[in-house]
Symmetry: C3
């Protein structure tokens, strides 16, 4: 399928990589990633142009990588620098190199024209490093589903009542209307407040709420494939205005979607919280609840993906709750058209 290419995708957490070569498949391309002696990351096409052995089956030698079949050696820009048994290097002996950028424990890869790689466009938030917030890296969720369907799920407050009844939703939200709009840089924001309702499981555990709360969800979808969900709760008696929601217990859940192929996506997730800042275990306890919820998403997304493939292009029913997803799909369409023209 066609993917948006001139953008940053997450290749992995910083802790995933070392001087051992590691293979990743992103936008259907096989890539080998490793660290140079300095720690600097390298990403190359993972196929030796001689006999097609993946370079990830070879060895990192200093800053270079050596093929495990005949010893052809490539530097961090993909140039062949040695062919054992001959002095000249054939012109065609090179592999593609991908720009990389690493920050906040996240390794980003640029899948499009290297000349257009722009580090200022990497997703960033002040909360990553603010002393008022605690940041916790989660995990990588592998989904046998198209990334667009996974992204739909990440701007979709309506599903939580049905898919996550014990963790992130409850029946009180079923009929509360949802707002969606497109903001700067084509970011799609979908949100709703559920006022004066019993707390969901998550905020019984974090915040210790028992009495009714006001609960909010703001889903920010940064095309093509980053989502930030700002959600939280506060005592309903305070009747907080939206702009004061940082007075409640508030979580920023981040999802970085990496399309592997048309039916496989890796969702790397992490979260930033404004509560229990000094308790290292709080992040891990949140992980446990998220794992339950994301396993529920995975079940639903994978079953729906199979059925969608079988339905073979049947037009879906459009509902009011889909407005955010439809805005997002429109942005993706524009991005793809713009890249096709260029």
């Amino acid at each position: 399928m066609k993917y948006v290419r001139n953008c940053w995708y997450v290749a992995g957490w910083s802790t995933d990589f070392s001087d051992q070569p590691r293979r990743a498949t992103i936008l259907e391309e096989n890539i080998v990633l490793y660290r140079q002696v300095s720690g600097q990351m390298v990403a190359l096409a993972d196929r030796c142009p001689h006999k097609s052995l993946p370079l990830s089956r070879g060895k990192v030698v200093g800053d270079n990588i050596r093929c495990g079949y005949h010893g052809l050696t490539f530097d961090c820009e993909g140039r062949c620098v040695r062919v054992p048994g001959q002095d000249n290097i054939p012109k065609s002996a090179f592999v593609r190199a991908y720009p990389l950028f690493e920050r906040h424990g996240i390794v980003w890869i640029w899948m499009g024209d290297p000349a257009r790689a722009d580090e200022t466009k990497v997703f960033d938030r002040p909360e990553f490093t603010s002393p008022e917030w605690a940041c916790h890296h989660g995990d990588a969720l592998h989904l046998r589903a198209n990334y667009l369907n996974v992204a739909d799920n990440l701007c979709d407050p309506a599903h939580v009542a049905y898919v996550h009844p014990t963790t992130l939703g409850n029946p009180e939200s079923e009929d509360v209307p949802i707002q969606s709009e497109k903001g700067d840089d084509d970011v799609v924001v979908t949100y709703r407040w559920i006022r004066n309702a019993p707390p969901i499981g998550f905020f019984r555990k974090f915040g210790g709420f028992v009495e009714n709360v006001d609960r909010w969800h703001y889903y920010y979808l940064y095309p093509p494939s980053t989502a930030m969900i700002d959600f939280g709760s506060s005592d309903a008696r305070l009747n907080l205005k939206p702009e004061d929601r940082h007075q409640g217990v508030r979580i920023l859940a981040l999802h970085f979607l990496t399309p592997v192929n048309a039916t496989y996506t890796i969702d790397r997730w992490m979260h930033i919280r404004n509560c229990e800042l000094d308790d290292e275990s709080a992040g891990e306890r949140m992980d446990e609840l998220f794992r339950i919820a994301f396993a529920e998403d995975k079940d639903v997304l994978e079953a729906a993906q199979l059925e969608e493939l079988k339905a073979n292009g049947a037009r879906p029913v459009r509902l009011a709750i889909d407005k955010g997803a439809n805005l997002y799909r429109g942005v993706i369409k524009s991005m793809l058209e713009s890249e096709a023209r260029a």
Copy 2:
């Protein structure tokens, strides 16, 4: 592939279904089946028209079924009766409903035009409820084979000597000629009598025959996919006429074939006997012998199916023993042509 659609197929035994939704694939269509509060069966297309989640992943709520993703709720005729978060129901929010009919512990589904569903055409026999016969439901045999090949096997007395040497056949039958003819309603009947020969394993166990017997097989194939095999034995010294065979030990073995797809068939089998009527365990002991025999059929049919696919349309050798199968294939061809014209 093309299937005969305007007919009843077996969707399962009555005991397979409850108020828990259950998925079945029939003629390559995914279907969810469940019981209403009254016990009445419901069958709907198993794909929510919103985001494609199978409805079988959702919940039965009263007589309706609710999607497990966003709560869209469908009634027993497939009409959407609720969309959480909005009042109006989009016109395109419906799923196909399939006519069902339940009798003698068997659930039948009509895969064609609902207006043509005719309950008088469901396969029935007086022996199901006669006090002179005992009826026993068997099991569901899953075969990685096309239903036409499975049906061939069910109008084929010749294979028993080679495929079922210890249960349903023995070498004495190898060269006894076979008769085949087409009866009313295109039922294909294939039969033979093996006179004055040692009993097969089955009738050593049921009937306790030791001395020579007369043995008969009448294979009735009701297109497209129901088979009844009337087989039995009696003491050879009685020299029974065919019309007097109910004086011997006689079994009606029923097979209801449900095509799942071009290379997968479910064969639900049961049997009705005129012996040991009061011994509940007799049916189960027969099951055990049938299980041995049907596992042998499964081995042969699956191996032959793979090889037939590989042979890719090579014309098979036609033999005298194939007359029944050829008559049956001719009826299927006519039925398909007739449906294509309509």
Copy 3:
């Protein structure tokens, strides 16, 4: 894919076959092999022309094979000699028979025009039966790789330093040039001598070398799919001429490649040695080292095959070390063109 057909391929070791039918797939054709009462081998197309059951599911009856479905019986030339239930044998009731030839414990099959099968063209060597050599049958290595890629690997001295660092190679060989030439009957010979270098693992164990050795590799590739690797070592102080290499420890490693399909090959390997002739266990100890090395080849060949399929026809970089493989590929191309013309 297209294969060279008018040649002998190895169907198995002699010990693989008995009066039990055994199925093999060669050049994408399913074949049943068995021995007649005399021990003579038979090879027939493994599909009954009646209902497509593989004949290998049936029974050998005397010198014939009987189908396990309806008892059709075929003789060793593939002629149907019995159809139970009828006297006449339809003209189309036959299966293809393949010429076979057995020698030195190896069963060869001719996959092309039977009229052109020529037993004088079966691969043979005087060392098989010479008292100065000991012959040891190894094993069958199954590789998910095209046979051409496997053959490349068998005329490729350059890979041993990278793929087999503990058994068959070491770094001293990395930059030693390689010679390749085409000899009589289009046999491709690729060779090199590595003079005055530490012994590889294999010759530390066999020959007990510790000091520097002269080491040779002669790769003989007999198109389409037999390889003989003459390799060995001798004390470097002797400075042996090539023609005197039988004074050293010398091994002939034989590989018989049988293409199963475009991505699956069976490599049956054995070896003949000029050392430890009277020690039966020496062959088995060599097997163990070969098994380590061939498992390394398998890893590399299978990973490269997958990547090559994905690269979908990208032209490989050509290196000096590929000369032997390129000569071999050229011979295969000529053979295929010659068969296409005929």
